[in-house]
């Protein structure tokens, strides 16, 4: 379960109707580090992890009574009335006051968890993230989209959650005794207790574990002081080699990042230098070799694995080599995961024609795209690479900033330092993009930097770059953004 936080400062919000009749509540967030989506019966909530208190909702056209009732529960009666008015009368624009409602904060937490699942830059324990989302979704069942995964999916984790609770309370347990981890267990046990059929024999065990955890929670909480491992930090910081050693000019080898949107989270490293490739002569033929770093996984993940744990299936990964504006790949290599090397490896013979072409600088720069087999081809050029890179740096910044908030002492300082570096890099990459794409996220990066660069007090500045194009939404940074148990687990399991 997430730590509680004070709601963001959104008090008044405007609504407008789109051409297709959908009603937009609030503004699109700056989203420098990406967003999380939470589909409710009242509409789609878009949540910016840097400012989760901001409200941005897309309400479908012709909202029915149920949709409006859920909006009333999440955003207040006045917002629901305004949506009805705007949707029916076609009034283009109106402003309402939002009450602060706990249900909306829960939806925002779910959005942040969604963000962490897809965009977090370090190897969080996915089982924790999954359970936290399912427990929260089960609690929010009456407002979430009826098809959203919830109680039944959580039931599949019952055995695992019970086992976790036992491990967490065992004497000498290596489990971090952090309130967030205990709260996650309480939350999951609580959600199961509410939703499992009353005839389920495991309910007695659930009650038992919950009582023990409550007792444990009041005793001997270990002080959180994580010395984060240097390699986690280095992956979040711009490195000299990556920054200046760019090898676009070298045709036959290179390093680069995996585009996060092209490969499911947890498959490959999220470092900016995760991919290295080269073409060399071997036994009389030319061979392309691609090495993609696997994600560094917390050794403590072993503490979470149980025999009944649901495990998602696997996917095939390929690397495709592109050159210039030629619309097809020139070579494709299948990659295979090698646990002993901590990497995905692939090699492929390169035909003479292709080699000749790749060696010719007039044909253009060489790109290697790492992707799931069968994925649509990448969109290339037009600044798309920078946009993806900027978002990666901002996500690293957001990740480090969140970890700095969880840890104390030297660890916190290191994370914070990493955050400053990553956000600066994000700001400079966004600055290279056209204003309609880059201005709002860049302003958000700078706002974060001014927050981080201060005296460390948790102010919440409403920062706007004076000389920038007008930014539609005010840029805010909410350092008290909700934190997931998975992030806490990650932070404290490295001391």
């Amino acid at each position: 379960m997430m730590t509680e936080h004070t709601p963001g400062p959104t008090r008044q919000i405007d609504l407008h109707r789109r051409a297709d009749g959908c009603v937009v509540i609030g503004h699109a967030p700056a989203a420098a580090a990406g967003v999380g989506l939470a589909p409710t019966r009242g509409g789609l909530f878009t949540v910016d992890p840097v400012d989760p208190g901001a409200v941005s909702v897309l309400v479908p056209a012709a909202p029915d009574e149920e949709c409006l009732a859920v909006l009333a529960a999440l955003l207040g009666e006045d917002a629901a009335t305004a949506v009805r008015h705007v949707a029916v009368t076609g009034v283009s624009h109106t402003v309402v006051t939002l009450p602060s409602l706990p249900a909306r904060e829960d939806v925002a937490r779910l959005g942040v968890l969604q963000w962490a699942t897809r965009h977090c830059a370090v190897g969080l324990a996915q089982p924790l993230l999954t359970v936290e989302q399912l427990a929260l979704s089960a609690r929010l069942a009456s407002v979430m989209d009826p098809d959203w995964p919830g109680e039944r999916e959580l039931w599949a984790w019952t055995g695992t959650i019970l086992e976790w609770a036992r491990r967490a309370r065992a004497s000498g347990s290596p489990w971090p005794r952090h309130p967030a981890v205990a709260a996650l267990l309480q939350d999951a046990l609580g959600s199961l207790g509410e939703t499992l059929p009353l005839a389920d024999a495991r309910l007695a065990d659930l009650d038992h574990e919950r009582e023990l955890l409550t007792a444990l929670g009041t005793l001997d909480l270990r002080h959180v002081d994580a010395d984060a491992r240097p390699e986690w930090l280095t992956e979040l910081r711009p490195q000299a080699a990556v920054t200046y050693g760019g090898s676009d000019s070298v045709q036959l080898d290179g390093i680069g990042a995996v585009d996060w949107a092209r490969v499911s989270p947890g498959l490959t490293s999220r470092a900016e230098d995760a991919v290295s490739w080269r073409i060399r002569r071997q036994d009389g033929a030319h061979v392309l070799t691609v090495i993609v770093k696997a994600p560094a996984v917390a050794p403590d993940l072993a503490l979470l694995v149980t025999p009944t744990m649901p495990m998602p299936p696997m996917k095939i990964i390929n690397a495709s080599v592109y050159q210039g504006d030629w619309p097809l790949p020139l070579v494709v290599a299948g990659l295979e995961f090698r646990a002993e090397a901590g990497a995905w490896l692939g090699s492929q013979h390169v035909s003479a024609t292709v080699l000749e072409r790749l060696s010719d600088p007039r044909e253009g720069d060489v790109d290697v795209d790492v992707h799931e087999a069968g994925a649509v081809p990448p969109r290339r050029g037009g600044g798309s690479r920078q946009h993806a890179a900027a978002q990666r740096w901002a996500a690293r910044g957001a990740t480090a900033m969140r970890l700095a908030g969880i840890t104390t002492g030297q660890a916190s300082t290191s994370w914070r330092d990493a955050a400053v570096h990553a956000w600066s890099r994000a700001a400079s990459v966004y600055a290279g993009l056209p204003d309609d794409i880059g201005a709002a996220p860049r302003a958000q990066c700078l706002a974060v930097l001014s927050t981080l660069g201060g005296d460390g007090t948790r102010t919440r500045p409403a920062w706007r770059r004076p000389d920038s194009e007008p930014v539609r939404a005010p840029v805010r940074v909410d350092q008290a953004s909700p934190v997931s148990a998975a992030e806490v687990w990650f932070a404290v399991s490295h001391d």
Partner: protein, 519 residues
Amino acid sequence: MTQAHRTETGRSTMRVLVRTHVTESRWGHLLRYGGPGKASDAVEHLGEPIVGARYLRDTGRHAPPATKVLTASEESQLTAAVAASIPTVGSAIDDYVRALATACRRLSQVRSSAPRSTVSERVAVRVGRHYARTPDTTLDLDELVAEVVHSIERAGPLSKGAFCDRYAGSYAVAWEGRGSAACRAFPPESVLVGSNAPPRLSVGWPENWTAGTDRSVYGRYLLYFKRSALGAGESPRVHDPHGAAVLEIDRVCAPYGLADRVGRVVVASLASGVRVDHNGATDSESAGRVLNRWRAGEGIQSVPVDTDAALFDDDLVEAAGAYVAIWVIDTARAKRANEAFRTLVAQDELLARFVVRKVWMRLHGQERAEAGPPTRMNITFWLTSALSAGVWEGLAAYQRASQPDLDAEPTDLGERIARRRQRAHDDFVADHGESPDAFVDRTNRTLSLIAERPALARIVRELPASASEEYAVEMDHVAGPAWTGRYLTWAQVRSHLSAYLVGDTNADTSSARDEGSGA
């Protein structure tokens, strides 16, 4: 959290006032998460009606809606009403907690499948009603518990085993008769709502909406009883477990798994309307005109009798196309053509599949609720919901299904991991008809040939209308008539073509330095 809400002046609501006062009262500990009572039920079903009644007595006016932002005078009057009501709310909480524990114990003894949350809600609604209307009379808890237990005992679904034992035979007979005929006349695959295989009686995993009509019979039956499939504020209906089973088996055997003919027209029309060319052929103005026409009209055109005639409503086909056109324009602008959006647009079957299946779920829900045929308003709502959220959700589910997040697990799980690898391999073979390695070989052979031969390269660059034929002719020429076994087909080559956007010039100088090269 409560402190934060209390200090937010000018944004308070009745719900927040009630919650704050109740959780800070001496009854608060009963409502902590995982405690004997559920806070949200105590606030919404006990506190709010009791305070509302008190407010009406004190002021002569109805209390404002629970989540309305209060004016200063409403806030002070309501605060007084809440404070004055706390002893009554406390007694109600005591009764609610006691009745809830008794009801759960009884239901557990009779092996009920109801969850505690359902019992809690029903108990709270009844206790709240009593204390709001007749606070001075005694509440007969035994009678209340008996009433709740009775209403719930009847409501539970059959277990999977019991359902299969009891209904496997009748489903087989019904499918053999009507089901297979309906499936032949109206193949689900043709409208992307599911595969043409008969739906299974039950499956061993949790199912979601992306399955469409591939959802098992038992899975569809469970929806009658699923808490989250109910509307917000809608109290769970009492379904006869056997009646629902008979109804659902009958429906599974109807065309597209829907009993109502209008629903089938909606499914077929959407499938046809959504599968248009999304590449900006329609501008938002002409799409807007189509939508105005659609909104001004009424009803869904349905065929008079069950014939093999095409099941389309032309207005809906056109409107669906227009909604998608606007969605493409707006999304491309808002999302800057991100990866998920591109996947959906590039694989238009995927987009249509998600839209059709999401709306199918709503149609199925409408039939379960016996709510009558859908109106244009309903369809507009469902279709725009599907486009604004459903398609992203569908894509996430689609990608989640292929997400190996525990890959570097300890070795004692080696066997499980190996099995998952094998399954990924098998899935690939099932999808592509060959192994990943063979596919990569064929791809490289083809890519190299295209790069080498100007005639083939021209087809790829210029994409003439007759590209498919020209490609075949050229391949016959360079690789012999049996080339299809060794090289990619034109459709496969086409699926590899990437858009390269001009205007990356400022990128090339800065990005090389900023990002390194490569991917």
